[in-house]
């Protein structure tokens, strides 16, 4: 396996959990799959459609998101929204994210000294 592939693999692993957190935070305002994909990628949270759509379905199954069909337009769209359980998880994930960030910062400064 080349270095590039290894790097890509590790980056993907690092980002996997952050996509969940990003979805939970972003979907405090309801939105549908494609709009969410666009806005996350626009913000620099890189995620693939083949990852995002199954993820949304899984989060809904776990009760972290709720969904509702919007049939006002020609194309019916499923709008997802973060549930109260999802909010709790988002808080927990955010706290942990900050803790890890601080720890990594500590490691880096420790290296320099």
């Amino acid at each position: 396996m080349s270095t590039e592939e290894t790097t890509a693999g590790h980056l993907q692993e690092l980002r996997r959990g952050t996509v969940v957190l990003a979805c939970l935070v972003r979907l405090r305002t309801p939105d549908y799959g494609y709009a969410l994909l666009e806005s996350l990628n626009g913000l620099g949270i890189l995620v693939d459609a083949n990852t995002l759509y199954p993820l949304l379905r899984r989060l809904e199954k776990q009760g972290l998101l709720t969904s509702e069909w919007n049939t006002d337009e020609a194309r019916p769209r499923k709008f997802y929204r973060t549930s109260p359980t999802g909010e709790h998880l988002a808080d927990a994930l955010t706290t942990d994210w900050r803790r890890i960030d601080d720890a990594l910062a500590g490691l880096t400064t420790g290296d320099e000294s």
């Binding site: 549908y32 799959g33 494609y34 459609a49 083949n50 199954p54 379905r57 499923k78």
Partner: protein
Amino acid sequence: MTTLTDRYVWAAARTLPETQRADFDRELRERIGDATDALVEAGSSPVDAERSALTELGDPAALAAQYVDRPLQLIGPRYYLMWWRLLKVLYSIVLPIGAAGVLLGQLLSGADIGEAIGSTVTTAISIAVNLGFWTTLVFAVLERTTAGAGQPGIAAVWTLDMLPALPEPAKTSRLGELIGSLVFLGIFAAAIVWQQFGVVFHDGVREPIPLLEPALWSFWLPYFLALIALEILFAIALYAWGWNWWLALANLVLNVAFTVPALWLFLTGQLISDEALAAMQWPWGSSGPVIVAIIVVVVIGAATWDVIDGGIKAWRATRARRAASIA
């Protein structure tokens, strides 16, 4: 008019349970439609956009399987090791026993040795295929059976007790002895059955006469076959436990049980059939008594040596074990 999208959605939805199809259909159409629109906006023609949006989705069956969390492997990591261990146990126990049973049955029913081996091989292959197929089928079904909510399913929990013992070097070397004994005993048993159909050669022509007295089938030949079966058990016990005083005693009993009746039958002239003696033109001049004496000495000598050898090995093994337990 059916579009590519219609065909794709149908191909994906048909593998799903009826109740989930309508929802899945709508969700998938939304996803395809949005992706196509985005590509059209970026400058593709509608036809190209639809094609590349669908290509991006990949195999519809895989997509649908992901939707309902259906496994895309025959046996997954949850059951793979259990399946593999069971298969190894079955292949190392059922297969040899089945094959040996068929071989013995064929030989006892008087089949030709080649024919017996042939049908043993075919039966062994069919046993192997059946074992593999049915075991795998059961596990593939298990893999697709979802445990009820809150239940752990049938997954076996690994415990420390399942750690294999380190291979004893002595046991590895005993394996060779075991295989040697089993092969020898198997050939010996086959020879007792086979001699019935003629092993005496006269001027290079096989005579269709038994070597051993056929009247012995009423008791003594089955007795010797049973002894061979016991010897096989003995060889396996020896492999499992190594020499000890119990096994040395068993070795003595088995040797006596074999040698005494065999010599008695031989010396009283009941062992070899009259036809075979006639075909061999026995007694060969005046050398008869000498040959009989040599055979008796060799048989007694071999049995005695085997008993002494077992005793020595048991003594050595006991001493080694005692030394190891002190250390």
